[in-house]
Amino acid sequence: MAKLDKVDVVIVGAGASGSVYAAVLAKAGKKVVVLDQGPDWKTTDLISSDFWGRRIKTAGAPFVLEGKNPVSYAYQSGWGVGGAALHYFANLPRLLPNDFKIKSEHNRALDWPISYQDVAPYYDKVARDIGVSGDAKAEEIWRQPGLPYPMPPMKTFRHGDVWLKGFEAVGIRMVPAAVGMNSTEYRGRPPCIYDGWCHVGCPTGALSNPLVTYLADARKAGAEVRPWSTVTRVLTNGKGNRVSGVEYYDQRGEKQFQPGAVVVLAAWAAQNPRIMLNSASDKHPKGLANSSGLVGRYMMTHYASGTWAIFDENVANHMGTTGSQYMSYDRYGKTSHKGAFGSTFIVVGSALKTSGLGGFANARLDLFGPDLHAFMKRAARGLSRITAFGEELPHIENRVELASDKDELGMPLAKIIHSYDEDVAAVWNANFEEGLRIAKAAGAQEFWSARGNIPTIHLMGGTIMGTGAGNSVVNSYGQTHEIPNLYVAGPGIFPTGGASNPTNTIFALSLRGAEQLAARWKTIAV
């Protein structure tokens, strides 16, 4: 195994969280290497096509999917530099204060070791770093005041506006969606041209993917991004009390050792536990930072109740962004739906394309042949959708663990074992019922629920934060309780997941963790 020169920070994964750590630490003068298992994508690779857009989704070793509700992770996964944030929809809502203290307030789930007030300044910083469009003042009906967003809300289109009277009729207030897209030119990046191809990667720079935000900053500050580098283990010193670097395989399949004073695992909610469990040694027989046995535990997802409708007008559904036009937290209280527990976050106004999992050919999966073609023609003119995301509470049985089969590098595959509870089914059903009421009140010509298996969206947990090694893997900064120079970043550190899209919180927590690491460098990287 070749040994490379020691660096200050080795970051595993060049996605949303890894890019934030890379930017902050490189700008702080640290020598940073970012290892990513996939290609080094450029914005010019981001072809406007659902088919070609699959290039930037998972292609690594597969996860073995088990449980009553297997996690269908691939659609939202990343492959290569930029990670999943290369094709994210850039919906950037926040968690709300009630997400941080569910145990205290309801004796359910877990509390975070921090409050909304600890994270809020970082949400504001993120908005300025990457550029967020929206109306922060309008959001104050649900949260404490913060800084205004740096850009006004995005343009709206008829396929979003057409729902508003329906929402009003059922008492749901909609406000402009907070999105990481440019409604105006921002920091040299152009405004959005509303072509609706965000979900396969935005090549113009109008959408805040890592290539044009934090990763660009990191590279400018001297960080090295090393693609085609698959990390299999984190190694420790002889005492086992500090990590010494990572073992990885390069593009030629040769094993390398990259020493580093600090290691940040930012590989993805399921891949981080896989690496930590595979790093077991005589000093850490259950895997790194895992004396509690909690590495890989408390995996969570979101689920969506989609309501489709066809309106008797041309709603221009091909226009806009894959993100949302409007959002609402009016069903975000944990007990908003009678007989069900968990928050709901509602969005409307996503641009539609024909193919792919989110394409409108799948709006009526029961149709095929001439019936499908007739539907496609009607849908092209009048189809639109609202989506209500629901919260799943953390359960220790939902987990990542190593499997007996191995990948081509000899690394054990990992299982994701996941089952929903009764609350999920109750919230999911309640949101479908409300969606139909909204569609009817909006005057839709025809409308229906997008039922099927309960979907699994936005994988979170597995390396949760808490107050100590007895109840969690990391502290609120992402620093593992047991090994001070090993950090974990990304949605894996969420102890609960709320119902809103997670990436804003991923950015904010990563910024908070990276700034703490930079500020306390001398005590952490000794």
Binding site: I47, S48, A59, P62, S72, Y73, I193, W197, H318, F368
Partner: protein, 186 residues
């Protein structure tokens, strides 16, 4: 993946075409062009390609001429990490050709049991009836990947080649509006 193959893949991706083998040499073309030119299949047997064309045409009119069999054949013959089938997003375990062969085998077996003929040899109404039952997991004696999942994956392939192309958008009257357009109207 060796370096030469990767370069070919990336080049094909950049122009929105696929690498098909014609007369021993690689040529970049769309699946529709490959079918029209009678490009030999790489992995699929003639009977398998015939079944996929019949299934595709049943699912989405126009899929046969759009080259669904050539599309799937080309995609299952490249390394799994290069394949861009919806199967990849739906967590089908590579190699993907195994899934398609199992699906075709299951369809032909129930077709034989029901009508004494392979699926491709059924009348169009018979094909529609069988697909509708497969979709609902109501086919007795089905042996293979779950019928509704076969329906979802192959329907997605047919949608890809018919509605997912620039031509498909045009036929539906939808402006394609690409940032970076796939060439050759794919």
């Amino acid at each position: 993946m060796d370096h030469m193959k990767r370069r070919d893949f990336m080049r094909g991706a950049a122009v929105g075409t696929f690498a098909f083998t014609v007369g021993g040499a690689q040529s970049l073309m769309t699946p529709r062009e490959a079918r029209a030119q009678g490009v030999p299949f790489r992995l699929l047997k003639a009977s398998e390609a015939e079944a996929l064309e019949a299934l595709g045409e049943t699912l989405v009119p126009g899929a046969r001429a759009a080259g669904i069999a050539h599309f799937i054949d080309q995609q299952v013959s490249v390394a799994p990490e290069e394949a861009l089938l919806e199967a990849r997003i739906l967590n089908v375990k590579p190699p993907y050709v195994n899934f398609y062969r199992a699906a075709i085998g299951a369809i032909d077996k129930v077709s034989q049991a029901r009508a004494g003929r392979r699926f491709a040899e059924l009348t169009a109404p018979q094909q529609r009836e069988l697909v509708d039952l497969m979709r609902q997991n109501k086919l007795d004696g089905w042996q293979g990947p779950p019928g509704p999942f076969v329906y979802l994956v192959t329907r997605s392939d047919a949608v890809d080649v018919v509605y997912g192309t620039m031509e498909g958008y045009e036929a539906l009257g939808i402006p394609y509006m690409p940032h970076i357009a796939p060439e050759k109207r794919w």
